[in-house]
Amino acid sequence: MTETKPISNTSDSSKNKSVEKLDSGSSNTTTSSSSPNTDNDKPKLTNKELKELKKQEKLAKRAAKKENAGIVSQITPQQIEQNKNKKNQQSQSQSSLQQQHSIVKKIEKKNSLFSHLETKEHRNELSISQSQIINQIHPSIISLTLKISSYSIVGSIPRCKAMLETFIKVINDYKTPQGTTLTRNLTNYLSIQIDYLKTSRPLSVSMGNAIRWLKQQISIISIDLNDKDAKDELISQIKDFIKEKIEYSGKVIIESTSNHISNGSKILTFGNSQVLKEIFLHNHLVLHKKFQVIIVDSNPLFEGKQLAKELSSNGLNIKYVLINSLSTIFQDSIDFVFLGAHSMLSNGFLYSRVGSALIAMKAKNRNVPVLVCCESIKFSDKVQLDSVTLNELSDSNLLINNGQKRQNISLDKFVQNHEIKPIQSTKDKKEKDDSSKVEDLSNWRNNQYLNIVNVMYDLTPPDFIEKIITEVGALPPSSVPVILREYKSST
């Protein structure tokens, strides 16, 4: 737990400048890694940021008017985030647990369960601090960083694939400087790119594995090889890697998972997993099986919408529900629960989109087998026992903006007409909203009692998982280390 200043003063100030100042003082205490850089750049940045801020406030107003725009429109609010809410570092600090128990008493915004995690604002700060080296960053990396940070590329495998494809471009344009060799310099060069990429979101396990592999490949390239040949070799290796570890693995998984789907099956899935989507489409379009897919979705990314849209447009029978109705939907006789994975940890825990654990637990409770489809590139040798130690915090505003958007639709009008305030608060997934209006939540940073935490992942214990399907076979969660051993020896 990091020690932070009490922020009772800042909470009153609506002017961003003062927030900024106070923040620069307290950022020393909250962060260790990034603060030296940011402190040096502070005066410059503040001006720049203020300008940007005004611009983005305008944008935000515009965005707020848009009623039903999907994830895409959330980009703008996110960017606003960049500057406005450094204070968030402290205010995020309330744990969700505390909120759940609705004991949001007078707790200063410190000592949080999640305060050790890097926040979105944090990462934005980092990316700004790296702006001096931006000329070293390959344009395609910048574009990828933007795409990832705006969630237009989501999912472990799509991100990994996009990254590798970008690396192909980067390597293609790379020239070894005088007086050094490709083997030595390219690794460094890539590291800079990767550091920048990290400012979008933390790397996924699959990306980490791919990077480790790539660096290994670079290091064993012969020094005598000229630049062009070396680059060609690397590029073809990356292409093979994508084919072997991502595309073919997916195919094998699809093949072996298809055995589980038969006519009349009812399958429940959560969010939007790339490989699961392909499995469903394959069984529907190629194998012509008749089955129903229940897609459970959740705030704030609503990835399931995309899946529901794609599957239903192909004629598949879809039921789309939100995670709130989980216990109701399990009244149905569901045959299997299929889950995607962000990563499989070596103690058999599944690290996946937040909500997966809930579903797996419910499925276990109803005696429905939970199957995880996961490429072996997602296997991690890490051991993690809870989802607090390592996790990813996303933009807290995403939770609010969904509320804002909904506020414009009929339900909100209804609420306004009838002046029933409490409904609004449940709508925003907040227990404590006092009697304030929904709009006021966007001011949550000024309220020291209100903490909004947007956690991205959770951990599902192996007891809830029946089977993991990988391209090297199906196995119980207890056998994950085996795959790791075999996989490591093969690459």
């Binding site: 199957l371 199906a474 056998s479 075999e486």
Partner: protein, 302 residues
């Protein structure tokens, strides 16, 4: 398959040697097929084996442990064909090694008895389900080592193989009591250990065995009695049932009928998930259920 009937030879092997298990008989008939057919290219050889395996699997009901043998041999063939430059030596090698394979497999039961008898101590009451050669070998070995123990054998409906088991054990001077399957819950409190064989060991470490094994597993677990599976490693199959009834058999288990004289029908095998199994006593040593998938992955991805 005009001049050689794989099914016939398979059944013949089983009949001639009562000590032979199904996967071994399958391997032996495949080796015999290779000897007779003399395929001239490796593609032909693989095709031949694939066809024969397919025929065999389709013609025999309850083909689970049989397919373990076929798959194992197939894997062995695929791994070895590319090692040889000329095809003829490869084929010879296969036939020779196939033979070796058989001998080793037969040997494995003795090895299991050697490692397994230490699990049985004086004054034990051991519950045994149905008939199993590996279990009877192990118990006989323990009796020969002067361990004094008693055995409860289940009758094992619908095949009633428990009677055969009791007979074998009694012939080794082991005191045996035969109970009906439904009495397992009654005796489980008095039992110290449960031993079962297996027709196939799944990737999860769960076992496919004579019907009734699952309920014994559940009872054993609920009263904290260790359940040991005694099985040779060639019974490891690459399959992963999710529930006790999730076994690929084409027969329909349920025969609902309001006919008063409708005969009782029952499945013959069931699947016991790995959480009910304490350990597997195999020729590779004593394994935990999760070590099975390790062995299988090693076998298939070397």
């Amino acid at each position: 398959m005009s001049d050689f009937d794989i099914k016939k030879s398979y059944l013949q092997f089983l009949e001639e040697d009562t000590e032979m298990t199904m996967p071994i008989a399958a391997i032996e008939s495949l080796v015999t097929l290779l000897k007779i057919k003399q395929p001239s290219t490796s593609t032909e050889l693989i095709k031949l084996l694939q066809d024969a395996t397919e025929t065999l699997k389709n013609s025999i009901p309850n083909a689970i442990s049989l397919s373990a043998g076929c798959d194992l041999f197939m894997r062995f063939v695929l791994r070895n064909t590319h090692l040889y430059q000329d095809y003829e030596s490869c084929r010879r090698h296969l036939v020779e090694n196939g033979q070796l394979f058989l001998e080793r497999s037969k040997e494995s039961r003795r090895k299991i008895a050697e490692t397994g008898y230490k699990f049985i101590s004086d004054d034990d009451i051991i519950l045994v389900h149905s008939f199993s050669r590996t279990v009877s070998t192990l118990l006989a070995h323990a009796a020969a080592k002067k361990v004094r123990f008693r055995v409860i054998v289940t009758e094992a409906r619908p095949t009633l193989q428990g009677e055969a088991m009791a007979k074998i054990l009694r012939s080794h001077n082991i005191p045996v009591s035969v109970i009906v399957d439904s009495a397992v819950g009654y005796v489980i409190n008095k039992v110290d250990k449960v031993l079962v064989g297996a027709e196939g060991v799944a990737e999860s470490g769960g076992i496919i065995n004579h019907v009734g094994s699952y309920q014994i597993g559940v009872l054993a677990k609920s009263s904290n009695k260790p359940l040991y599976v005694v099985a040779e490693s060639h019974k490891f199959v690459r399959m992963f049932p999710l529930s006790p009834d999730n076994i690929p058999t084409d027969e329909n288990i349920f025969h609902f009928s309001s006919d008063l004289n409708h005969e009782t029908k029952s499945p013959i095998i069931d699947f016991t998930p790995h959480e009910y199994i304490t350990a597997l006593i195999t020729d590779l040593g004593v394994l935990t259920p999760s070590a099975v998938s390790e062995e299988l992955i090693k076998m298939w991805y070397d």
